[in-house]
Point group: C2
Chain length 357, copies 2
């Protein structure tokens, strides 16, 4: 138990409690695993504990408090922690699909595993091995996120409600990811589509569904779930919009990933879609010629950035973020949540929109 | 309900009942999915319904009967069907990792999805798209196998027992797959390791764990579970040993995959390990030079086959299969199962060892 009172515990305290659930779960897995599996399990633990912000578990616990949950029972923490194993699965596979070498300032999982087997011979050399091992490690994280959830000591009614939320979340994330794959490659001016991808791939699974999970565990009704949604989608979208800006303009030492990757991959972000729509013919030609080039240079990336500035796309995204932040705050004015939960959700909405990493 | 009596229903009847659970589940998913997801869901359904033998669901239902279960209640069928969605996930990711173009006589999922997007432009061309979409579709199948299991209308005690079995199975399969990845590339004489891979990757999840799942659903004790294991591992291993023989010597029109893939990938099968151990220096040089060559020709594959014959490795594997088949039959002599269940398990052990596809 983190806090026995009705008050929302300190966010750091929630993070620590979630960390200890994850540490214990992975330690048990490592103990019972055959020796050869310890290396990938160690890679998984390393990934989970470097730079993981625990946003999703924290949101889940906030949902629990928003729905009048009291204290922070172990089963709720365990369900909350399962969200970060799911998130880990999604990031590992995402990096494989995007061929991203860096994540959180370190080598991504498939690169780290390839490097450990650098002397490997045969048709599947170290790089192929790294990718295959990462696919498998993602599969393991997905299975284990599920195991962590269904082994939580929940009442049957809590368990059923939790699974409804988590099942929906998993399908949504995979849908968002698929839509992203379909669109990636050529800069497009389809703003609505870019927003749909960001909503499914990020907004729902980062804020809305974790809140719903906490609410469902507390046995809340549709009024609370709807109020969670009204609050959650704006900062969830703001989170992704900020991610797009950081992806293009962020400081790599703070974000932990190169600020050229999104351009190189031809990611169809809202930022890019806005630029395509607002571009004059010369600017549009430049975007079409450069965005999605695997060999994009740093100088070419600067010309892309200049277009994102000159078209006003960057400022427009900043405005969208601010608008979403205000919308979230407004939703809280009428939310049927305890005051303490509202205070924390205000802080979190603000943090999601101004973060630098 | 398939059969209201104590008798084991006809295997075809079980297969049909499992098929209808899967058809209904995927139809509901397709109906509720956004239009863009219907294409991959269709690919998943196509894969599930071409050549799927439903061995795992059938074994699960047999486990239910072996543990004195009566009739075939819908929740048992649903849990049984979830095993085939799990199997589908494993095959889709397996084909991506092995870079296999064919499965069950058709294009594998990543190749089929690449072909549908052949006109795709950008840094992620059609082949990369196919691989990424298949990784995602595997993830979806894994999530949905879990959803099918936990939405089955089971009593809490059944549900908990079922999850213990399925959690163990998932970790075992991924362990086997990882061990396989570690070993692939260079022919090795490590027979024990090849047997461990086959046990974890195939034997346990094809026969033992499905039987355990059925037994657990019927509330059986450890005596029945142990008898299931004693019966299950030999035909499970025989199944994989037959697979290795079919992989090297099978008729591609019957197996649905080229009989050079295993040699080309440098798969460390028991068949290959036996050949390496028994080979004279010249034969060993030939194996080292050819096995694991991505550009292996049909003629070179024939020389590898000749070594597998000349060393007696092929015959030795045939003997291992026969021995395992006898061992399974013997285990049934003392098994505390109803007579009808024993009859069916005898048929299945025989079928696993003599199959040609």
């Amino acid at each position: 138990m983190v806090a026995p009172t009705h008050a929302v515990p300190d966010l750091m305290e929630i993070r620590r409690a979630v960390d200890s659930v994850l540490v214990e779960f992975l330690a048990a897995k490592s103990l019972s695993a055959p020796a050869q599996l310890r290396e990938p399990i160690k890679a998984l633990r390393g990934f989970l504990f470097v730079g993981g912000k625990r946003i999703r578990p924290v949101m889940c616990v906030c949902g629990w408090y928003a729905a009048q949950g009291r204290g922070t029972p172990e089963p709720v923490l365990q369900a909350a922690a399962s969200l970060d194993l799911f998130h880990t699965f999604a990031l590992i596979h995402d990096d494989v699909m995007d061929d991203s070498d860096t994540r959180r300032g370190r080598r991504s999982v498939h690169v780290a595993l390839a490097d450990r087997h650098r002397s490997r011979k045969g048709p599947q050399g170290p790089d192929r091995f790294g990718i295959n091992a990462a696919i498998l490690l993602g599969d393991l994280a997905l299975s284990w996120s599920d195991e962590l959830l269904h082994t939580a000591d929940l009442a049957p009614v809590q368990r059923r409600a939790a699974h409804v939320v988590v099942d929906a979340m998993r399908t949504e994330v995979m849908f968002g990811q698929y839509l992203d794959l379909l669109g990636t490659g050529i800069p497009s001016g389809d703003i609505a589509r870019a927003l749909t991808v960001s909503r499914f791939k990020t907004a729902k699974c980062t804020v809305e569904r974790p809140l719903h999970l906490g609410g469902a565990l507390a046995g809340c009704g549709t009024a609370v779930l709807d109020a969670c949604t009204a609050y959650a989608l704006p900062p969830g979208e703001a989170f992704q919009l900020r991610d797009d800006l950081l992806g293009g303009f962020g400081d790599p030492t703070a974000t932990g990933k190169p600020s050229t990757d999104d351009f190189r991959d031809g990611k169809c972000t809202v930022l890019m879609a806005l630029a395509v729509v607002r571009a004059n013919p010369a600017q549009r030609r430049l975007l079409r010629a450069l965005v999605g080039r695997p060999d994009l240079t740093e100088e070419q990336a600067d010309s892309v950035r200049a277009v994102l500035e000159a078209t006003g796309a960057r400022c427009a995204v900043e405005r969208m973020i601010a608008r979403r932040c205000r919308r979230a705050m407004k939703a809280l004015d009428h939310a049927p949540f305890p005051e303490a939960a509202i205070d924390v959700l205000r802080q979190l909405a603000h943090a999601a929109s101004v973060r630098t990493s």
